[in-house]
Amino acid sequence: MKEFEPKIIAMVCNWCTYTAADLAGTSRLMYPANIRIVRLMCTGMIDQKYILKAFLDGADGVFIGGCHPGDCHYINGNLKAVKRISGVRKLLEQFGFDPARLKLQWIGASEGPEFQRHMTEFVSTVKSMGPNPARDCMIL
């Protein structure tokens, strides 16, 4: 059987983590192809329902990347995201999702190598967890 290849949604902010992802590209830093990037203007615009949507649609992991505290392009959007995300993580945990499938990470615009490292690490973490259980059942 082929090795399990997770699909991971990365919701990243335009100003830091998306830029870091571009920089990883410019620097030709290779990482696994399991990441699907959704570009948002700021982590502060992430509604809980986006995360739930991703998991219910079968994402094996959701990675949220924003600017370091103090660096958010919009002052503190990243901090607004923190509680919202920890709440969704707690919620998902209640329904049998491994909380580690949802990761929040600050990656600054100049941190191309960090972007590569976090992608590689997260892919392998999610790989070890196996597929999202929602993949195999009919979601109403």
Partner: protein
């Protein structure tokens, strides 16, 4: 909401050899052609080239496309380009969506099949999303024809003069009693050694006399509201306790005042009075009363100044005032402060009287300084041997990891001045010599030719314990000469510390008020290190001088002129376009909970008390989406980043 039946064109770029062959572009185009609503899908060598763009334009016109997907490099690179092409072809530029298949796929993926599969997903996502794009427009708002410059050092003065010359009103805000900044404290400036006062004073006077410049000295920025083109800046005028309109600047008051206070301007080396002008050429020359040290304010008696002031300008009852000015743009020019070497106890600063910071030495050297420009020690005698230590607090991970850029040149300037004014021997201790400016290397050679001892090595210690009795009373500098691998013990009379530069105190408050980010060392962040070195991420706010990072006077002046140029270009254009990708609050959905008002970092949301709904101010909104995420009913949504668009994109990625 869908605005019309979508007819989508998909364009996959090869980017020469950058995307293809890693991504099988033909395969991706074929895949795209089969997606819902897609009318044409093509691959092409260089989409951003003008034939590439023409391809899109032609298809829009001939095939009636109303949505465009370009799968190529990062949208941060070419989104503007392709939006323009859409506009040129007659469709709304926001009907474009890009898929980043270069930076985020072909360049970072090893396996070609993986890369192709990922590219298909990202293209499918873009197609799913673009269906729900809306035609967006933005507002054009007039720009106020004036600007505020914060900080009246050489940077601020230069910027103010440049803009005023172009005919714009400038408010120059300086927190000290006089403009001038650091440069006003120097005697000579490297590399040409021209007299600082001779080049600085005329600039200061010119700024003061310019009809289009309003000086606000002894003032600070109290508040900033608004947005590019339409800022409202609150300026807090601290009370001088002197009626500037009456004061003639005769200075009688300062001679009569009995209260002696340590002079900040002279770096604590002399005294001033409680009523004072920081230095003789101060602009404006209206003195200020330092409330903390004034006998009248502290003890309720004296009023000597009042008695002697013939102009009756003393005004003990003056109050702080807040003045609000309008500005189309703002320039930050808050400069730097020098590193305090006290924590580096091995250098003995504060313990040994003959250890000076570079700024103190500038004053000693200055004709208006404590020794009237004579190079004397505290005992009144000239030194016979002087050590100069480079990189104090700079290039040191415990303090500042960065290079302060000017200290090498400052130190060599000092070496030259010591040699010129005395017969003293000069020993310089450096790590590397950094002299990469016009005529700087030449200056370095000149100093070497003047017989200065250059020792490559970080100083381990400055001590008052001599190696032999003959040097009793002198200081000894201990260092390893890393070129000869020998430990040196050099007895000297005077030690000068080439202290590093750090951001001016209060820069954090300015940053917060203006919403401009600072880097990890506290310097203001430019928008782009290479391509936008004087812009900031806040449109309409620019940087000049050392507030952005250590630099010398030529660079400061050049940058200040550039900042003024950017600011003037904005004001000259006369209007700014608001962002199109901003929040919209659906009044039918809004329940009036004001949550969005609470979370909006730019106070961009108001409340309509009549309808009891929140309303977005389109000029203030920056589209951060805080409101959209916080509003549970999605009454607030960001145009171009709506829940619908984001979820469609995600769903397609997970198909």
């Amino acid at each position: 909401m869908k605005y019309e039946q979508p007819a989508i064109g998909v364009y996959i770029c090869h980017c020469g050899m950058n995307i293809a062959p890693k991504v099988d572009v033909e395969n991706v185009a074929a895949f795209a052609a089969a997606l819902e609503h897609v009318v044409v899908a093509r691959d092409y060598k260089f989409m951003c080239s003008s034939p590439g763009q023409s391809l899109i334009i032609k298809d829009i016109r001939e095939r009636g496309l109303n949505r465009i997907i370009v799968a190529s490099c990062s949208p941060r690179m070419h989104e503007k380009t392709f939006r323009k092409a859409c506009e040129q072809a007659g469709i709304n530029p926001h009907y474009l969506q890009m898929a980043n298949i270069r930076e985020q796929i072909s360049w970072v993926t090893k396996d070609s099949n993986d890369a192709t599969a990922k590219a298909k997903d990202q293209v499918a996502a873009a197609v799913a999303r673009v269906v729900y794009h809306a035609p967006l427009t933005s507002l054009e708002i007039p720009v106020k024809k004036s600007m505020v410059v914060v900080g009246g050092g050489i940077a601020g003065i230069q910027a103010a003069l440049t803009a005023a010359e172009a005919g714009y009103n400038v408010h120059l805000v300086e927190r000290e009693p006089s403009i001038g900044g650091h440069m006003a404290k120097f005697d000579k400036t490297f590399p040409t050694l021209d007299c600082a006062a001779c080049i600085m004073t005329p600039k200061m006077v010119e700024a003061a006399q310019h009809p289009d410049i309003t000086l606000h000295t002894y003032s600070e920025v109290a508040s900033v509201e608004g947005f590019v083109g339409n800022f409202k800046v609150g300026i807090r005028q601290k009370p001088r306790y002197i009626d500037a309109s009456k004061c003639t600047g005769c200075g009688v008051c300062t001679t009569k005042c009995p209260s002696k206070v340590i002079s900040e301007f002279d770096q604590g080396l002399t005294f001033r009075k409680a009523i004072y002008s920081p230095f003789p050429q101060a602009i404006p020359n209206t003195p200020v009363i330092d409330r903390e040290n004034c006998l009248y304010f502290t003890k309720g008696r004296c009023r000597a100044c009042e008695k002697f002031c013939e102009a009756h300008a003393i005004a003990f009852d003056q109050k702080e005032e807040i003045l609000t000015v309008e500005a189309g743009s703002i320039i930050i020019a808050t400069g730097f402060q020098t590193f305090d070497p006290t924590p580096l106890t091995q250098y003995g600063y504060g313990r040994y009287p003959e250890v000076y910071t570079s700024l103190e030495f500038e004053r000693i050297n200055n004709a208006t300084g404590p020794t009237a420009g004579k190079l004397l020690m505290k005992n009144g005698k000239p030194p016979e041997k002087v050590a100069i230590i480079h990189c104090v607090g700079s290039r040191d991970s415990r303090y500042h990891a960065y290079c302060s850029r000017v200290c090498c040149m400052v130190s060599m300037k000092f070496a030259h001045l010591v040699r010129e004014k005395t017969n003293a021997e000069v020993w310089e201790f450096y790590i590397d010599i950094r002299s990469p400016g016009k005529l700087y290397e030449e200056f370095y050679s000149r100093v070497q030719e003047e017989g200065v001892h250059m020792v490559r090595g970080r100083v381990a210690e400055v001590t008052d314990i001599p190696e032999n009795a003959k040097n009793e009373g002198r200081l000894t500098v201990v260092a390893e000469n890393t070129l000869t691998r020998r430990i040196l013990r050099v007895p000297v009379d005077m030690v000068l510390l080439g202290v590093g530069l750090e951001p001016a105190k209060g820069a954090d408050d300015i940053g917060r008020m203006l919403g401009v980010q600072r880097d990890k060392d506290g310097w203001f962040n430019e928008l782009h290190a290479k391509l936008a070195p004087v812009k900031t991420a806040m449109s309409g706010i620019f940087l000049a001088g050392c507030c952005q990072g250590p630099k010398d006077i030529p660079d400061t002046v050049a940058q200040a002129s550039a900042a003024a140029g950017e600011a003037v270009s904005l004001l000259a254009k006369g209007t700014v376009r608001t962002l199109a990708e901003i929040s919209y609050i659906d009044p039918d959905l809004c329940s009036g909970c004001k949550t969005c008002i609470e979370v909006c970092p730019y106070t961009a949301i108001g409340f309509d008390e009549g309808r009891r709904v929140a309303v977005v101010n389109e000029a203030l909104c920056k589209g951060c989406g805080s409101c959209a995420a916080a509003c549970p009913s999605s009454a607030a949504a960001i145009r171009h980043f709506s829940g619908r668009q984001i979820m469609e994109e995600m769903e397609a990625l997970l198909l």
